[in-house]
């Protein structure tokens, strides 16, 4: 209620504070569990995720809450209808909005704009926020800034952490550039990751033009709690290509010259705010809650009406009616739900156990999350794993780190589940080529079945276990088990073009690996030496301030090496694609050029990549015996050699091209190299890409290390011919 009486004089606005909750993340990080339950109803410390968000909103004094539902919208609706928030005593009015069509945050915002619900400044949160933040302070800070800066449209709440903090998202690590004095956000970027390695950020110096001092921060947790002005949905509407709140909207708004709107950050270092956006953060936030970093949000605050948790020292939370055997050991940070039983000599630590769970004798459970109604039989070992509701783990099973056991799965006796295995009750179908990136495969069951039937034929090729529940996967779940391995790789196949998703493979669902990641720097050094270097740069940069843009450039050069590697791959792929699909020459050039500019590399790299691609193609022709050496070279260089026209401008660059070509050809197998080189040389000369003068210059240059004797031998004849031809032409010119 507090915000109501703050600064009402100056701001003539609707007094009601509205909140929009995005219950869907439009991502697939919690697959396969989200194919059964909506993500916001997955239990975190035995409480559905959405409860934490709604609790925060209640504390914040929000008057109206709109839940934007997409996948499993019906389940969310049913849950809310039956919850305390829908009863008369609820502190706010709650409405669910079925936005089934939306496929991204952007879509949801556009839908919101179409419905015209927003009347004033509103709070935009995702349905997975866990926080104890003092919201009235944030709101008054927002309103005060609003008075000073009329163009202020968004305040983002960020929490101070450290770059390697366990609760910080490692899959979408974000960097903010802020004005040091005012906390105005100048630039935002997810650090582009290449194969899981952090790279660089690049900033347009124009953005920093009239800024005194700025900070680059890579140590903030972005919990997606934003106070937005009503303009925000409108901007989404105008920019129909905006998908993501941060990557598209924030960046777009900040770099737009026309819009001239400002975004501020509110950085808190006393309160707790984080977002459950991946298994990694699920694990970390669970532990944070148990260790009471988020007090008063803790299991013993009993967010659900029927809960009865009490606190005991060493952060142990027990509900009523639990049965613990006399010889079982309960370590620190444990939650046990009612009617659960733990057998003799079992050990539990840093774990959450749901209601009605049966845990046998001699079981070891560490850092794991056992959801309601699960049965774990004798002598099992479970570490860093998640066991979803109603599943059965039979005797002597070992779940290795990172396992996710889906709903209703049965694991047979003596099975050892390998690391990072995800098991589901029924095979999950991928609508692989659809652009759908929601949490679940389909929000509509009928639709789902329909698609299933249609695709049954195709899918038989792709997924082996297609038959519904008839044949299980004994290799994974044991002889009497029920369940299939969930193939996460195919999921990522969908987003090859999406840097972040593909890189997140390294972080994805691997509770254990992440654990390693955040527990020690050394493990990072041993596994990915490159990363540490980058991290260092950034953690130091995060506190460094610079007075001008120059400093910024210095930072950039650090990342260049990584850029080049990445550029090479991308560029080669581009050229290959162009040749395969017989693209327009201009299109290919445009693509290459864009790539060059976005990665900030030199023409040398472009040439290198193009040559590599062309030679690979030729080699492919020769190896498959489609064409002879001569024909293939002529075909490729005759047409695609033209690419160099716009990659080679100066004389030195022609020499450089030849050097590249020579060194690449010398590495070709089958001794075709020299021949290919000479033929290519001829074609390039014919196409006026190379001048005689420069070819001769290259030929005669001394001290070049890349000289290859074989190549030179074969090429010498052609050079001789060239030299003669030149003399002739010289002679004829004199005449």
């Amino acid at each position: 209620m507090a915000p109501k009486n703050k600064k009402q004089k100056e701001i003539v606005q609707d007094e009601r504070l509205q909140a929009i909750v995005l219950t869907d993340s439009y991502e697939t990080k919690f697959m396969p569990l989200t194919s059964v339950e909506p993500r916001c109803l997955l239990p975190l410390c035995n409480v559905p995720l959405i409860e934490y968000t709604l609790e925060f909103l209640a504390k914040a004094g929000v008057d109206e809450v709109y839940l934007m539902c997409c996948s499993h919208a019906d389940k969310v609706q049913t849950y809310i209808d039956g919850s305390k928030w829908n009863q008369a005593g609820s502190p706010f009015k709650i409405n669910t909005i079925m936005s089934l069509e939306s496929r991204s945050v952007g879509d949801a915002m556009r839908d919101l704009d179409n419905r015209g619900l927003i009347t004033g400044d509103f709070l935009l949160v995702s349905g997975d926020v866990v926080t104890n933040i003092q919201f009235d302070e944030v709101l008054s800070a927002h309103r005060q800034r609003r008075l000073i800066d009329k163009d202020h449209i968004v305040t983002m709440v960020l929490t101070q952490a450290s770059p390697l903090h366990r609760t910080r998202s490692q899959s979408v690590p974000s960097t903010f550039i802020l004005d040091k004095k005012t906390d105005r956000c100048l630039y935002y970027q997810d650090i582009p990751s290449i194969n899981g390695l952090k790279a660089s950020i690049s900033v347009d110096p124009d953005l920093l033009e009239d800024v005194d001092e700025f900070v680059i921060r890579n140590d903030l947790i972005d919990c997606h709690v934003d106070i937005c002005s009503p303009l925000v949905p409108v901007i989404f509407q105008e920019n129909f290509d905006y998908q993501y709140l941060r990557r598209d909207f924030v960046r777009g708004t900040l770099s737009s010259d026309l819009l001239k709107k400002t975004i501020y950050a509110y950085i808190t270092n006393e309160d707790y705010a984080a977002r459950v956006e991946s298994w990694q953060t699920y694990d970390a936030i669970s532990q944070d809650i148990l260790e009471r970093w988020c007090y008063p949000i803790a299991p013993d605050s009993n967010l659900l009406e029927d809960q009865s948790y009490t606190y005991e020292s060493k952060h142990i939370y027990k509900e009523k009616d639990i049965r613990l055997s006399q010889s079982c050991k309960i370590g620190s940070c444990v939650v046990i739900g009612s009617n659960s039983f733990i057998g003799d000599a079992s050990q539990v630590e840093n774990s959450v156990i749901g209601r009605n769970c049966q845990i046998g004798t001699n079981v070891i459970i560490k850092n794991s999350y056992i959801w309601d109604n699960s049965i774990i039989k004798d002598n099992c070992q479970i570490e860093h794993s998640i066991v979803a509701s109603n599943s059965v783990i039979n005797q002597n099973v070992k779940l290795n780190s990172g396992s996710v056991i889906g709903f209703n799965v049965v694991i047979g006796d003596n099975v050892i589940v390998a690391e990072n295995t995800r098991i589901v009750e029924r095979p999950v179908k991928h609508l692989s080529d659809s652009s759908y990136i929601g949490d679940s495969l389909s929000s509509d069951d009928e639709f789902y079945q329909d698609i299933q039937a249609k695709r049954a034929a195709e899918e038989k090729e792709n997924i082996v276990e297609v038959d519904e529940g008839a044949v299980n996967d004994p290799a994974i779940v044991g002889e009497n088990g029920i369940g299939f391995a969930y193939d996460s790789e195919s999921e990522y196949g969908d987003y090859d073009d999406d840097e972040v998703s593909s890189s997140s493979k390294h972080y994805h669902g691997l509770v254990y690996k992440l654990d390693e990641l955040y527990l020690s720097d050394t493990s990072i050094v041993s596994s990915m030496p490159n990363r540490r270097k980058k991290r260092r740069t950034y953690s130091s940069a995060s506190h460094a301030t610079a007075t001008d843009a120059e400093h910024d450039y210095n930072n950039n050069t650090d990342g260049e090496e990584d850029d080049e590697e990445d550029f090479n791959k991308e560029a080669i792929a581009t050229v290959e694609r162009a040749m395969e699909n017989n693209h327009d020459l201009d299109t290919a050039l445009l693509e290459l050029n864009t790539l060059r500019m976005s990665m900030n590399v030199t023409y040398h790299d472009v040439r290198l990549a193009t040559c590599t691609a062309l030679l690979q193609r030729i080699e492919h022709f020769i190896n498959t015996q489609t064409l002879g050496v001569k024909d293939s070279v002529h075909k490729i260089f005759g047409k695609w050699g033209q690419l160099f026209k716009r990659q080679v401008f100066e004389d030195e660059e022609q020499v450089d091209l030849l050097n590249i070509l020579e060194s690449l050809c010398s590495k070709l197998p089958n001794n075709n190299g020299p021949t290919i080189f000479t033929l290519a040389l001829n074609d390039l000369y014919d196409n006026d890409i190379l001048d005689e003068v420069n070819i001769l210059k290259w030929w005669n240059q001394e001290g070049y290390a890349g000289k290859d004797e074989n190549t030179r031998k074969v090429a010498s004849k052609w050079i001789e011919w060239l030299a003669e031809a030149e003399e002739e032409s010289d002679g004829s010119a004199e005449e």
Binding site: E55, S162, L164, R166, E270, Q287, R292, N302
Partner: protein, 399 residues
């Protein structure tokens, strides 16, 4: 009937919203919780329908249970509920006496008799009158009843009232109880005044006092009042990590009242104790055995005081007195935000070490010399008597 239903729905909504606010700690601190509880109970009593006081007792007990569960370590809500229940029971007995014509001595009974005891045992009556000597309360009328007596009367009452069905009587009863709660609110809000009056007698000139509970308003008022006639020095412990800011504010406020104030680190308490004349502690809740729960760190201060035989005074309003016994220490001590102890940003430590931040401490009765309440000063061993005076045994358990 529909309006009745509406009333009932309204009151349930109100109860739920108070319970939720308690859960979210939007209502916190024993004073605020006590006042809120009183106001909620007033609304409940005026809105709910009942034919017999027994039903009302059930209703109140149910509400009380909810309130206690919402903040299990804040005892003042439970205390207030029990006080109100005891008020109702007293009133029932009086009615009985009137109805049955055997309680003539209570006819002009005044509503403030909730402070007084209802016992008929000779010895107890004697203690009770001794107690009355100590109190500032003028009203010395004793109601006559005991457990057995009460049981008999209960059965009589149920039959009698079933026959009589006096609507006007119910209405009277209702207004009497509400009047009683209003007086209870007055009592709670004027607690400092009563305690303050004793301060001059307890504090001497040029004395050095130490207080480890800077958050307590009662302690502040106590000291401020004493300053009017005495000149003394107050040492304030810093109370890291939970109350450090409050300690500094407290010291400033004391200084503004021209009291010599010194803020000392928690670690130096033992070193300065030899020069301290009295330790003044503000209690969060006081238990029937004479122990009390206060801010964390106070137990250590009291141990130090015991070592040097320094007297420890605990100041507390009567509403903080709980009829419960502290059997399970875990259930008394709230554990707060770990982030106060250590920076959460520190990724090297978070998750690799165990952090616990208890907000309260339990102080054993042996380490406390005297309780100063709004009804007088008592030794810890006498607290159980005051509990008996103010609460009924059947209300201790709110089931």
């Amino acid at each position: 009937m529909s309006s009745q239903h509406k009333d009932k729905a309204d009151i349930n909504v109100h109860i739920d919203s108070v319970v939720n606010k308690l859960k979210r700690r939007q209502i916190s601190g024993s004073y605020t919780v006590a006042i809120e509880t009183c106001q909620l109970l007033m609304r409940v009593i005026s809105a709910s329908r009942w034919n017999h006081p027994d039903q009302l007792i059930d209703i109140i007990a149910q509400v009380g249970k909810k309130l206690v569960q919402a903040q299990p370590r804040e005892f003042s809500s439970g205390n207030i509920v029990r006080r109100v229940l005891s008020l109702i029971r007293d009133e029932m007995n009086d009615d009985n006496d009137v109805n049955n014509g055997n309680g003539g001595n209570n006819n002009n009974n005044n509503n403030s008799n909730y402070i007084n005891n209802s016992v008929n045992n000779e010895n107890q009556a004697m203690i009770s009158s001794m107690f009355a000597l100590l109190t500032t309360n003028e009203n010395k009328k004793n109601t006559v009843s005991n457990q057995q007596n009460l049981q008999q009367q209960k059965s009589q009452v149920s039959s009698a009232s079933a026959q009589l069905k006096k609507n006007t009587h119910t209405q009277d009863f209702r207004s009497i109880i509400i009047q009683g709660i209003k007086e209870l609110i007055d009592e709670i809000s004027s607690i400092s005044e009563n305690i303050e009056t004793m301060s001059v007698d307890l504090i001497h000139d040029n004395e050095v006092l130490l207080t480890p509970t800077p958050g307590s308003k009662t302690v502040f008022n106590f000291l401020a009042k004493a300053r009017l006639k005495r000149k003394f020095t107050v040492l304030v412990t810093e109370c890291f990590p939970n109350e450090t800011e409050e300690a500094h504010k407290f010291a400033k406020k004391l200084a503004a009242h021209k009291i010599d104030t010194v803020v000392i680190p928690d670690s130096t308490v033992f070193a300065v104790m030899s020069r301290v004349g009295k330790v003044i502690v503000g209690a969060r809740s006081v238990f029937a055995n004479g122990g009390c729960v206060t801010s964390s760190g106070v137990a250590a201060v009291c141990e130090c005081a015991k070592e040097y035989k320094t007297p420890v005074f605990v100041v507390a309003g009567l509403y903080k007195l709980s009829p419960l016994y502290p059997f399970d220490r875990d259930s008394l001590v709230e554990v707060g935000n770990s982030g106060k102890v250590m920076e959460w940003e520190d990724s090297q430590l978070v998750g690799n070490c165990e952090v616990t931040n208890p907000l309260f401490d339990y102080v054993v009765p042996e380490n406390i010399d005297i309780y100063i309440t709004n009804v007088g000063g008592f030794s810890p061993s006498f607290i159980y008597r005051i509990v008996l005076d103010n609460y009924k045994a059947e209300d201790v358990n709110l089931e």
